[in-house]
Every structure is written in C-alpha cells, then in structure tokens.
C-alpha cells in the first residue's frame, strides 16, 4: 500500500501536495471503500434473511421473487427507496429532520472501525477499543432524539423519548457486562482481548468462570434492548406508536434508520464474538499467511452471524414487553446481576490470578449440556408441530 502511494508520488501525480496529506487521504479512502462494500451488502442481506426467517417461523413464504430465493430483494428495495420522493413535513424542523438519519448512521458505522475480523484485518486497533465502542454508539441516541423531536409528531416524539430512555438505561448492564470481560482479559483493546483467549471453546472468556458466563447473556439481552429489537422494540411499537421516531420519514432517509438497525445486529454479534467467543482464534493447522487470514475471517464472520440469526429467532418468537416491564427488568434485575458478575470476577481473579482451568472445563460442559437440552426441546416441539407446519422452506 505504502509502496504504491510512494510510486504514485514519484510519478508526479500529486505535485505540490505534502506527503502527509496523500498518505492520510489514501488510508481514509481505502478504509471507507472496504467498509462500505462490506457493510452495505451485509445490512442488505441481513434484511432479506430476516424477512425469510420470520416468514418460516410464521409459516409464510417471505420475499422469494427477486433472484434465487429472493436474495437480491435488498437491491430492489434500495433502488426503490432511492427513487422515492423525499417528503419533509411542512411543520417539521427541516434542518434537524434532514440531519437525524446521518447522526444515527455515523453512530452505527463508526463501530466497524474497531471490529477485528482477523489478526491483521482491523481498521484501527485502538488502546481503548471497547470504551470507543460504548462511546460512539451514544451518538445513536442523539440521532433518535433528533428524529423524534424534529418530526413534529406526537408518535415520533414519544418513540424518540422511549428509545432514549431505553438505550440510556440498558447501556449500564451492557457496559458492566463488557467490563467483566475487561477485568478477565486485562485490556481494553479488541485484539488484546482476543489474544487473551484460545481457539478451544474452554479457553474462551465465556467459560472463564460462572460470572462471565452470566455476563454473556446479560450483554446479549441488553444489546438487543439497545438496538431497539423485539422483544424490546417499544420505541417503534406498531400497535401503539405507528412507527415511533421513523413515522414521518420516507424514501432513503427511512432506509438509513433501518440500515443502521440491521447492521447493528451484526455489530452486536461481532462484539459478543470478540469478547466472549474467542474472536478469530483458529486451531494452528496452517502457516500460510493468506490462508490463515481467510480462515480467521470466516470463523469470525460465522460466529458473529450466528448471533444475528439468534436475534431474528428471538424476534420471531417473543412478544413485546411493556414500558414498565422493560424498565423494571433493567433496573431491578439486570443492573444488580451485572454488578454481581463484575465483583464476582474480581474476587475470582484475586483467588486464582492465573485463571482456573478445571472451572473453565466444568463451565464448558455445563454450556454444552444447556445447548443439548435446548436442541432436544426444539426437536420435541418440531415433532409435535409437524402436522400443522407447512414444511417446505424453499419455494
């Protein structure tokens, strides 16, 4: 990369421009291009997959017309929304109304800077990786409040208020759960946390002790609430608030909010993978640097995408909670539990400074047992529902 830029400078493409500018410009350009061409299809395909998955859960077919199995549906939707009229209500505050989708989008997009897709594949391995993640996502709250207020609509304002209250509340258990992992790993950097784990599941921080095991579930629940996902999607509850803070939006601006929401699902999965599930760690089977990079990326991507699928699943099966239930779940149960996790891990590290391998193995076995029970249960349910299921997923 640097050699290429040096060569371009020597050939006189950038006469009179300081070298600093050229380097920085190229770095920013490449990072932005890579991220855009990764993030945009990711969010799009997630939107299609989500609709297909729900459809199956609800015994429907879902979008299956555009491309094989409807996989190009997201392109069609994107083009449709680009061509739509951009309506701004007369009574809306025009400047803030126009700005809000971008603020939300920046808050989501900037998280990709610190997501480690491989040992070499990261835009910037900041010293304060996790803190940066927590901080930059708070832009989303500001954007949502902006959208809610500037629409000059009661539903929008209520949705914006609900969303802000929800995100601010659930930031606390999510942050504390992440802090538990920071304790165990001893660093805030994303790559540092992955390096503190191994490729084998019992070396993952998820099984480090019972407290980190609990912190994982706390984090995932709180992250779903922060991402305004069902069962915590009261800010855009259709039955109460029309569409919440996006009620007045149309066309591309509307899409920006949902782009952020679907992309955010992947970010949740990626954070969970990095912190709890060993990130890109792979067994030492090959030395070839390119092959290792590709394998690491695949492992990381699949682990992260598994949680996107789980989130879809949850959305398809659970009913929405009420506002008061949402708040009491956060403040009366999740915050105290996450404090217990934090203090428990601290105590654990005082007793076993090097970690406890036996406990990790036991936790791993418990995890496998829970998973086994879960699958048995699912199989049982499917067998009993078979007669009424329209059991032909690919039309």
């Amino acid at each position: 990369m640097q050699q290429l830029v040096d060569q371009l400078i020597q050939e006189g493409y950038f006469e009179g421009v300081p070298k600093d500018f050229v380097y920085t410009g190229f770095m920013v350009l490449v990072a932005l291009l890579v991220l855009s061409f990764f993030v945009a299809p990711l969010a799009g395909i997630t939107s299609w997959l989500e609709r297909r998955v729900w459809a199956r859960i609800q015994s429907r077919v879902g979008p299956n017309r555009v491309g094989p199995q409807g996989i190009l549906q997201w392109l069609a939707d994107g083009i449709k929304n680009l061509l739509k009229e951009d309506i701004i209500p007369t009574a809306a505050d025009k400047r803030l109304f126009a700005l809000a989708p971008y603020v939300v989008f920046v808050g989501f997009f900037a998280t990709f800077v610190v997501i480690p897709f491989g040992s070499q594949l990261i835009v910037a391995d900041l010293n304060i990786g996790i803190l940066y993640l927590l901080a930059i996502t708070s832009l989303v709250v500001v954007g949502i409040l902006m959208a809610g207020w500037s629409s000059n609509n009661k539903w929008s304002l209520l949705g914006g208020m609900r969303s802000a209250a929800q995100i601010v509340s659930y930031e606390i258990p999510a942050g504390l759960a992440l802090l538990t992992i920071v304790f165990a790993a001893g660093t805030l950097s994303m790559q540092g946390i992955i390096k503190a784990q191994g490729w084998a599941p019992w070396d993952w921080l998820l099984f480090y002790n019972p407290f980190t095991f609990a912190a994982f579930f706390l984090y995932f629940t709180a992250a779903l609430a922060e991402g305004n996902r069902t069962p915590f999607d009261i800010p855009e509850a259709e039955s109460e608030l029309v569409a919440g803070y996006v009620t007045e939006y149309s066309g591309m601006r509307f899409l920006f909010f949902f782009f952020a929401e679907w992309g955010n699902l992947y970010v949740i999965g990626a954070i969970a993978t990095t912190l709890f599930l060993g990130g890109w760690q792979i067994p030492p089977i090959t030395d070839h640097p390119v092959l290792v990079g590709i394998l690491q990326f695949i492992v990381f991507f699949l682990k992260a995408y598994l949680w996107v699928f789980v989130a879809m699943w949850v959305r398809g099966t659970l009913p929405r909670v009420r506002v008061d239930q949402l708040m009491s779940l956060c403040w009366k149960y999740m915050v105290p539990l996450s404090f217990i996790c934090l203090l428990g891990t601290a105590a654990w590290m005082v007793i076993w400074p090097q970690g406890n391998r036996v406990a990790s193995f036991v936790m791993f076995l418990i995890g496998v047992a829970i998973l086994g029970l879960f699958f048995r249960r699912v199989r049982f349910q499917i067998r009993h529902a078979q007669p009424v299921l329209y059991w032909k997923p690919y039309i």
Partner: protein
C-alpha cells in the same frame, strides 16, 4: 502545514462554532443539539493530547449521559422557539464588567503560559496508569467525588419517591 495541524484547526473550529450556536441560538433545541459538536470537538482535542481514555470517557459521559438528559429536559419544555436568551434579572453593566475581567484574566494566562510543543504524540495505554493514580496518589479526591455522586443518587431517589400518607 501538516495534516495534524489542519485536523486540529478543524476540531477547534467545530468546538468553538458549536459553542457559539449553543450560546446565541434563539431555539433552545438547537442549542442543546449543538452541544454535541462541542463535546465531540473537545474529545478530539483530548485525542490530540494523547489522552485517548479521557476522550472516550468524555464522549461516553457527556454525549451519552449529560447531553441526552439535557435533551430530555429541553424537549419537555414549552415555548422552545422563542427563548429570551438575555437574562433580565441582571443588568448590562455588571455583565460587561464581569466579561471584561474574565477576558483579561484569560488573555493574561494564555500569554504567561510557556507553550511547549510536543514533538510527537505517543499513544500508550493510559488506562492502567489512570487507575493507579486514582487508587494511590489521588485516593482521597477520588473517594470524595464518589461520595458526592452517591449523595446525588440518594437525593434523586428521595425527590422522585412518591409521598406515602398514613
């Protein structure tokens, strides 16, 4: 001019420009949203000083917490668009005197400070050092600040609790 200098001036412009909107805007919601630029700009300047942890905390606390609270409060007020930005309880003359005194003090301290130029910004992990300082050298101020925050928490609970009559 180096690119870092350019970025610095950009950050300074964002910070000061947003602060100007905060102070002079007739619409109180614009003022509140402009605080976003001010807080983010200050965080950027922290990054320039090599204090990345402080920058992260600045965004987390000020944008994620305080700004959202301010926005809540502002959005629940009526008469958003026509706020009287001059305070009528104090006259013009005391204001001018106070501003003049503080401006003089600021200019004096800016001129008296020996501005040393850092050769290069080094991004070392500062988190552990900050933690050590809090729990060793600055333990008393740290604990005092925690006590103040605890008192504020208890105060909030007392204020928001329903009065129960026998």
């Amino acid at each position: 001019m180096e690119i870092s200098a350019l970025v610095f001036y950009l950050l300074a412009a964002i910070t000061i420009g947003s602060a100007a909107i905060v102070a002079f805007s007739r619409n109180i919601v614009y003022s509140a949203f402009s605080l976003l630029g001010t807080f983010a700009g200050v965080a950027g300047i922290y990054v320039f000083l090599g204090a990345d942890f402080v920058a992260g905390v600045q965004i987390l606390i000020y944008v994620g917490g305080i700004l959202v609270l301010i926005l809540f409060a502002v959005m629940l007020t009526h008469r958003i668009a026509d706020v009287q930005i001059t305070n009528r309880s104090a006259g013009m003359i005391p204001a001018v005197v106070i501003i003049a005194v503080f401006l003089g003090l600021l200019i004096q301290s800016i001129r008296d400070t020996p501005w040393a130029k850092a050769k290069e910004i080094v991004y070392l992990p500062t988190t552990a050092a900050i933690g050590d300082f809090f729990l060793q050298h600055y333990l008393l101020p740290f604990e005092l600040a925690s006590l103040v925050l605890l008192a504020a928490l208890i105060g909030a609970v007392v204020l928001s609790r329903k009065e129960t009559k026998e």
